[in-house]
């Protein structure tokens, strides 16, 4: 009963917070796409992309329109911690476009690199172009496709990427077929020994345990990257054994200046990358046969 009361209070407060956000923010675009409700809001100089406002009011991405290169969210900044493992990526794959801030930052940082982006929802691509300064270039292309078949096909063609970002969320949801062991094996197939995988996942709920077990089975040890200020957990791993902390620290020092203008506090990250097992290892691995992902989100 008490926890029910707590939950109710939580939901009410969430709702009020959402309401407050909506009241102050000016909605500049609203659209119901094939997959979700897309809303673009603006408060002052801060413009945000939201999916499924009515359910959870989750900011997918935000930009400061007067300082576009600044990354507003922790999880977006955290996605660049993979640079500590591969500091000079040449072929980058980003699954899930959102407002495009991750690929835009990559293309600014590494103008020579090829960046492939996979986004299932054409409407998101249009919104990113119209409101979030995203633009395709010769080296940065968007493929409107599901991430799983894209990666499977790339693997069959023998294509390799040296920096892979898995950021496929739709609102509060990771597609179930992109949580499984088989999928991670397909991701491994497009990686080389120098590649790094950065996966944005859940940090709460039972799914955390299941996901951790699955990543561990597929990759062995991985860096678990959490910040107290963020509800996200970023998994960072590679095919080879993980580098020692000293190496991370020295890479962070080398790169820190270059990342400053994006507000990425890279030098703060090495000490946050943990290999400690803080999940229930007895949880079942997620496979194509067993992946009730979103049913496991409830605790």
């Amino acid at each position: 009963m008490r926890s029910l009361g707590k939950q109710a209070a939580f939901i009410v407060s969430l709702f009020l917070a959402g309401l407050a956000g909506i009241v102050h923010a000016e909605t500049i675009h609203e659209e119901r796409s094939k997959y979700r409700d897309i809303t673009v809001t603006q408060v002052g100089e801060r413009r945000c992309l939201l999916f499924n406002v009515h359910r959870g009011d989750r900011n997918q991405t935000c930009v400061m329109i007067n300082a576009r290169e600044r990354l507003v969210f922790d999880y977006t900044r955290m996605s660049f911690a993979g640079l500590l493992l591969n500091p000079d990526p040449q072929r980058i794959l980003v699954i899930g476009l959102g407002g495009g801030s991750i690929p835009l930052t990559f293309s600014d940082l590494f103008p020579e690199a090829t960046i492939d982006i996979v986004e299932i929802d054409e409407a998101v691509v249009n919104v990113a172009e119209e409101f979030f300064f995203f633009e395709e270039t010769d080296t940065m292309r968007v493929f409107v496709d599901d991430g799983r078949p894209f990666i499977k096909r790339a693997g069959l063609r023998g294509e390799k990427y040296d920096y892979v970002v898995l950021d496929a969320f739709s609102g509060d949801y990771i597609p179930e077929h992109m949580l499984t062991r088989e999928f991670l094996e397909e991701v491994r197939a497009i990686m080389t020994d120098d590649s790094v995988l950065v996966a944005n996942t859940f940090s709460t709920s039972r799914l955390y345990d299941h996901e951790s077990v699955t990543y561990q089975r597929a990759f062995g040890e991985f860096f678990n990257f959490k910040l107290p200020s963020s509800g996200n957990r970023i998994i960072i791993t590679q095919l080879q054994p993980l580098p020692p902390r000293g190496e991370l620290v020295s890479r962070a020092m080398e790169l820190n200046e270059r990342l400053r203008k994006y507000d990425v506090p890279l030098s703060d990250y090495p000490r946050r990358l943990s290999t400690r097992v803080d999940w229930d290892m007895s949880r079942r691995e997620l496979t194509d046969q067993y992946s009730p992902g979103n049913l496991l989100r409830g605790n």
């Binding site: 077929h177 499984t180 496979t287 046969q289």
Partner: protein, 219 residues
């Protein structure tokens, strides 16, 4: 009343079977997206493919089931639908990857890829499952006047089965079991249902042999 050579099986059994068929159709359909998603993704078009193929297969099944029911409708044929549907569902469990892989390689567009995969995986068992409902109507109808009533009752029961199958699969079965375990369970249920119909048929008829012997044969 018993003009036919054999005695009909109880209506409650037929109605129960209609429930089972509705349940199994939707259990397989709900798992369809799960089976296709590793190859064709989770986009809306994959669901579209599955629902399209299930609808087409059912439509064809209704047509053929109805046709078949006009000639010597019998509980044995009715039972065979269940057993055949079960047997023809086995490739979904045993050969899903060998069936989907070449389609995935040959067709880049996930819409058509998933459509073809759905045809090869689900069309035959679903058509057979579709034959059950019209055939069941025929088995339950004794007089023309109540045919609408019986058809309505059967739609009600089989659609109720579909609702329970959908809910059970999407809320609970996927949480408790692996996809192939659920499919195997469905196959087992279908085959057992067929056997149960056969058994009922023979029990009903062996107990009616004596009384039938006293009646003059009409055909």
């Amino acid at each position: 009343m018993s003009k036919a050579k054999t005695k009909a099986i109880p209506r409650a059994v037929i109605a129960g079977m209609a429930f089972v068929s509705g349940f199994c159709i939707m259990t397989i359909e709900m798992l369809g997206a799960r089976i296709l998603s590793p190859y064709f993704g989770g986009s809306l078009s994959v669901w579209g493919s599955i629902i399209t193929i299930f609808m087409l297969a059912l439509a064809l099944g209704y047509l053929f089931g109805g046709r078949l029911s006009t000639r010597n409708p019998s509980a044995v044929t009715f039972a065979m639908f269940f057993i055949a549907a079960g047997v023809f569902s086995l490739p979904v469990i045993l050969f899903a990857d060998p069936i989907m892989r070449p389609i995935f390689m040959a067709i880049e567009d996930p819409r058509y890829g998933s459509l073809f995969a759905a045809i090869f995986l689900f069309f035959i068992p679903t058509s057979i499952l579709g034959m059950i409902s019209p055939y069941a109507v025929r088995l339950m109808v004794e007089r023309q006047e109540h045919s609408g009533h019986m058809a309505g009752l059967l739609y009600f029961i089989s659609t109720l089965g579909s609702a329970v199958g959908t809910l059970g699969t999407s809320f609970y079965f996927v949480l408790w079991f692996e996809v192939n375990q659920i499919l195997l369970g469905t196959v087992a249920v279908l085959i057992l249902a067929g056997c149960f119909v056969l058994l009922t048929h023979y029990v009903v008829n062996s107990s009616s042999v004596k009384s039938a012997q006293r009646q003059p044969k009409s055909a």
